[in-house]
């Protein structure tokens, strides 16, 4: 019995070799691609320097895949593609084929199975998203449900090339923002300080590290009802929720007061301008499951304005830089408030220190 009980030491193999799972044409032409074309939305054609070609069909899935769905995707890959699958950063799936005649049957097969072909070039590609209520320990909202609801409405922009340039949308269930920067980001924004369960703090939280986590030094140790606990200076508190992960008794999530905020203009590409961070445009949006219609309506309004007003190749940040923020708020009909004026460190750099005004 003692032998069976001995724990198995792990094989610390780390990150596996990618070449073993790569389509042979990609292995063969590694580093030797010449150019690409976009035959139709959702399809890429890459041509290697030796003239050989590979077609990619990009499809959207629900990201959280059950084994039935995975096997269905594998069946399609075996029957209509060449048995290889790649996942993109935004959880799209790419099938690769070297025979052009396989492209349309593959598209038909994935479409018949309920998947959506698109997400290339100047489209709205899949939202990148986080875990939310399904699995996170600190979420203010769900993620997969928000994405599903929003993409149901934006599907026509996923399957076409109607945007001035590509649009990356992200969601995040707290201000840590695991969803990351996006042309449009929909993030939880708490509006009330944490509610503290003083009976639990001493046992659950390492108090000095919780104090150290607060970005505005609003938390201090305190004796409450004779017990060591923490208290929050509510005039200083910015309701970010940074204290909640290290100290769950400092509950920041609130069914009513945890809202959604929308940020625009995050762009990680160096194309034309340097990479940019996203900026606040709307807040106070209700966290309204199961369909979050208010958030979707604002996203659609921003996208419609961008589509109508931006020039080819302008990402959302570049479009706004050209037309100016006053016009952005005018065209979208969104209110400009005192909360849009930054007061965090480095905020002066965001002020208009010039006489450049559009009339």
């Amino acid at each position: 019995m003692s032998e069976a009980a001995a724990p198995r030491p792990p094989i610390e193999s780390g990150c596996p070799d990618g070449f073993q799972y790569m389509h042979p044409a990609m292995r063969r032409n590694y580093g030797n691609w010449a150019y690409h074309e976009d035959p139709q939305p959702g399809v890429l054609l890459h041509v290697a320097k030796d003239g050989s070609k590979i077609w990619t069909v990009k499809i959207a899935t629900q990201r959280i895949l059950d084994v039935f769905t995975i096997r269905k995707l594998c069946d399609i890959g075996d029957e209509y593609a060449d048995g290889y699958i790649r996942f993109t950063l935004r959880s799209n799936i790419e099938y690769m084929v070297t025979d052009e005649s396989k492209v349309q049957p593959l598209i038909k097969a994935v479409t018949d199975a309920g998947f959506i072909v698109g997400g290339t070039r100047n489209s709205v590609t899949s939202l990148s998203h986080t875990q939310g209520w399904l699995h996170c320990d600190i979420p203010g909202t769900d993620a997969s449900g928000v994405v599903k609801s929003m993409m149901d409405e934006l599907i026509g922009e996923f399957t076409s090339w109607n945007m001035p340039n590509r649009v990356h949308i992200t969601t995040s269930c707290c201000q840590i923002n695991c969803g990351g920067q996006g042309d449009i980001a929909i993030n939880v924004q708490h509006t009330k300080p944490p509610k503290i369960n003083h009976d639990l703090v001493a046992n659950v939280c390492e108090r000095p590290s919780v104090v150290a986590r607060c970005p505005v030094a609003a938390i201090r140790p305190a004796l409450v009802n004779g017990k060591p606990s923490l208290e929050v200076d509510e005039r200083k508190c910015i309701c970010c929720g940074a204290c909640f992960p290290p100290c769950p008794p400092m509950q920041i999530n609130d069914a009513e007061h945890s809202k959604l905020a929308i940020w625009v203009g995050g762009n990680h590409s160096n194309a034309r301008g340097k990479p940019t961070f996203q900026k606040l445009v709307a807040a106070g949006i209700p966290n309204n499951p199961p369909r979050w219609p208010e958030a979707t309506a604002i996203v659609k309004r921003i996208l419609k304005t961008y589509k109508e007003d931006a020039k080819d190749w302008e990402r959302i940040n570049e479009w706004i830089e050209r037309i100016g923020w006053p016009r952005f708020f005018e065209l979208t009909g969104l209110p400009f408030t005192k909360f849009h004026i930054d007061n965090w460190r480095g905020a002066r750099a965001s002020l208009n220190a010039s006489a450049h005004i559009r009339f």
């Binding site: 590694y30 010449a34 895949l65 084994v67 995975i70 998947f115 909202t141 769900d142 599903k148 986590r213």
Partner: protein
């Protein structure tokens, strides 16, 4: 089988054309041959519906790991286990994918088969920190599942204050813009720090991300502490015949409006003979013209990487982009590769020594200043590291002459080759 939990709100998410994760959960609940998986899916649906109704999450963390490791499992215990019993332990295993996320269908089936034996039957490709996320196993099965897939080549990723799982773009495998060997860079860096992935002992998380060109499809500059971005330093390649082809098909006005005038440094012009002129000394490798005309333009031959350090999202001091620490790193000889790894080691060691608890590398740099960081890791200053020189005169400069001398010495060494 216990009775199905009612899920009226989640049922709404089965409507509409986009693929529904809820339908997937229900397939596991209704159609899976194994009772354990059916029960787990039912319980999970019940708890998620409860979250939708009350607008709150009901998972708490804890401590779960596999034998020999201190990271890689995200423990989840239900706070409402009395009602939703079958998913009361619902841990995630973070597993490192290949650079660029490549799979064969055979391998996906094998992973699914293993997961079905021990877990919930739900897998996410991939989480925001780059891992395959096998969502939903109890503590005992976590070890069993890891043991099984570890035997055929898969290892856990990072979690907590450690080196996290790396991420790379599609890269040289299928992109003409790629300037570097992402596969090799990713695995060389990442697998040098396997110990730091599995045993959290750093101030906070540390991420490597690799993009083959300045389009940075991997979003490395905003989302990683150590961002490697492919670039080139000789002239870009121009196929003038292909450029004329674009002139004919797209039209002169289109190219003027969408290429020539969009160059951020005005480095492009159309000559009278309809050829393209490129001022390569003033090209900043932004990629725009290559993106619009991939047949006509391509990166040069003298390729390498720009390395930016310190990118991160909001907490605690606000967003930081990675900033240039190495303007150009050649990756050709064994020495080049060794020095890349040594640099990463220097950076992580210096940060481990000097970073405060829960302080990202970029936050430490902001706190101590870039120059102290550069001196700590032994890298010389370079004007490519700044947008502009200092504008504040509040600085003590009595070592000016010695510093100026260092610059001239470095320049002389470079000139001597």
């Amino acid at each position: 089988m216990a009775e199905h939990f009612e899920t009226p709100m989640l049922d709404e998410l089965e409507n509409g054309p986009w693929p529904s994760f809820i339908s997937g959960f229900k397939r596991l609940r209704d159609d899976h041959p194994e009772e354990r998986i059916r029960e787990t899916a039912n319980s999970l649906l019940g708890q998620l519906e409860h979250s939708y109704e009350t607008r709150k999450g009901y998972w708490k963390g804890g401590t779960v790991s596999v034998f020999g490791y201190g990271a890689g499992i995200i423990p989840r215990f239900s706070e409402v286990e009395g009602t939703f019993k079958a998913s009361k332990e619902f841990h995630t295993l973070r597993v490192q994918p290949t650079p660029g996320n490549y799979y064969t269908t055979d391998m996906l089936r094998q992973l699914s088969d293993s997961w079905e034996k021990y877990g919930s039957g739900l897998i996410t490709f991939h989480g925001q920190t780059g891992n395959i996320m096998f969502i939903g196993a109890d503590t005992e099965n976590t070890q069993s599942f890891f043991d099984e897939i570890n035997e055929y080549g898969w290892d856990l990723g990072g979690a907590g204050p450690d080196v996290r799982t790396g991420m790379s773009c599609v890269g040289a495998a299928r992109c003409e813009q790629s300037c570097i060997d992402e596969q090799r860079i990713h695995r060389t860096l990442q697998n040098n720090f396997t110990d730091d992935v599995h045993r959290p002992a750093l101030p906070y998380k540390f991420k490597f991300k690799i993009s083959g060109c300045p389009n940075d499809c991997q979003n490395s500059i905003e989302r990683s502490d150590f961002s490697v971005i492919g670039t080139w330093r000789d002239d870009m390649k121009v196929d003038q015949e292909a450029f004329k082809g674009y002139l004919e098909t797209k039209g002169r006005q289109y190219l003027i409006d969408n290429v020539i005038t969009r160059c951020p440094t005005n480095a492009l012009a159309i000559n009278d003979d309809d050829t393209l002129a490129v001022d390569n000394r003033n090209c900043v490798r932004c990629m725009h013209c290559l993106n619009v005309m991939p047949k006509a333009l391509s990166p040069g031959d003298d390729r390498g990487a720009t390395i930016c350090i310190g990118g991160k999202r909001t907490l605690k001091i606000g967003d930081l982009m990675g900033t240039v620490v190495v303007p150009f790193k050649k990756l050709e000889t064994d020495e080049d590769w060794e020095s890349l790894v040594e640099m990463a080691e220097e950076i992580i060691d210096f940060w481990a020594e000097n970073g405060l608890e829960h302080e990202r590398c970029g936050e430490m740099i902001e706190r101590i200043g870039l120059v102290n960081f550069l001196e700590g890791i032994g890298i010389d200053v370079d004007p490519n590291m700044v947008n502009n020189p200092r504008q504040s005169s509040y600085v003590r400069m009595d070592e000016w002459d010695a510093e100026a001398e260092k610059w001239f010495e470095r320049k002389a060494e470079e000139a001597a080759g």
